[in-house]
Amino acid sequence: MGTFLHRHRGATPYLLLAPGVLWLAIFFLIPLAFLGYESLQSGLFPNFEFTWEFSNFSDGIRDYREQFVRSFLYAGIATLACLVLAYPLVYWIAFRAGPWRNLFLLFIVAPFFVTYLVRTLAWLNILADQGPVVGLLRDVHILDSDGRLLATTFAVVSGITYNFFPFMALPIYVSLEQIDPRLLEAAKDLYASSTQAFLRVTLPLSAPGIVAGTLLTFIPAAGDFINAALLGTPNQAMIGNVIQSKFLESLDYPGAASLSFVLMGLILVMLLIYARIVGSERLTG
């Protein structure tokens, strides 16, 4: 087996890729092709006709520009919040937690075992208008006497942050975990302060993780709908909510499909810009 692979070295990447790419090709690309076909249809459910209806796309961008902008804004803020919150925690786990590492990694992921609805309902109870948290905030005048935490932009962005936290934390952990502690010792030996050691050694080495984490958080968050649905008002509706309702309520499948493609397209454009900024080696190695 070893010599076979050695002799067919050129084929190695393709062999490695084959199973995964095949899976995605059959179960993502083909459905995506159906979707593309649908996005150029017109008419009313269930009698859609393929009419090269490119206006679906322009109409979508025109009608829902506000929701698109809002989605990227919320996703961006949440991603930043996740980064700021997660990095120190993950740093601690990677360098200070010792044998307790896996336990704390589990703490990060554990909220997912308690399905989304259950943990959101718990938050709804904790942050209820008549609950202790809001009561406290009102007493110290951070909130007005009839202010609330729920059904606000704050609630939606917080919900996204909380729910996407592991997607930021775990990739960063992955790249921090591989840093050889002797590198840091060497830096200290060379009279670097802890801060300098961090900025010059740790941070750059964790850059691939940060990049990965930002992508894994921002991209799905932009298409999220559930946080805005449960924690927000119509003023917080994201593009995910629009697509959801087009699909479920209006039965406007061409509209939903075209909006999805616009979302995907915008994300890809942002991805290209991001790759340019951070250097594409960070994305692909």
Binding site: W92, P99, N102, L105, F113, T120, L170, S175, L216, T284
Partner: protein
Amino acid sequence: MTTLAASPERVRRGAGARTWAIVKRHALTVYALLVVGYLMLPIAVVILFSFNKPAGRFNYVWEEFTFDNWVNWNAVLGIQDAIITSLQVGLLATVVATALGTLMAMAIVRHHFVGRGATNILVFLPMSTPEIVLGASLLTLFLNTTAVFQLGFWTIFIAHVMFIVSFVVVTVKARLIGFDRHLEEAAMDLGANEVTTFRKVTLPLIAPAMLAAALLGFALSIDDFVITYLTAGGTQTFPVFVWGIARVSVPPQVNVIASAIFLVAIALALGNALWQIRAGRRQRRATA
């Protein structure tokens, strides 16, 4: 470690620096615990209320403590099947997706080949597609191929692998970028072929990353609602079940199941940590 010469100034600065160092050291730990506290806050509430005996339909006001819900954890019709299905799909899909994703990550990071850029984009696309669209389009595929795919357990499995793979690729890539190839080269210099090198050098080194990716994948699978709902036919996973039963409110048994999964996982990780500490102590004693 450099030693400090015994001079008064140096000692004073040393004391101040040492105090600051202690504060700094513990500040990070305190911060870490606070963040974990924030993450666990709703879970604590969920676990607490699994022991509640609600007066009416609503389980949000503490009435009285009871073990009833834990004893009768499967009293709610369908909850047992739902959680078993979730766990099965989760484990199976995670294993498969982690394998596929790791292989893809290795190919992308370590080889320059035609279509590398396109593969990267292919990996990012499922993540950028709203779940309802992923689910609906996959459903269309299944409906057009009913000779092969019947909606149920296996279509859920297929869907889950599909959307988990991307997350695995990106996570494992973060580890592979900056991976020290010298170790592998050394192994091969010592006569190991590619496969042996992979098994004995590469794999152990990227194992933590694969574990992290698998953890993420499992979390994604066990929590997925939208895609599962659309491609399941009538089969229920735990999130689908909870969504359905939460029409008016959530029965305490749901809290019980959720808490149980969480506690079992924590117990396993705790056991793993304690075992590691013991192994470390044993090793230290052995080498002392």
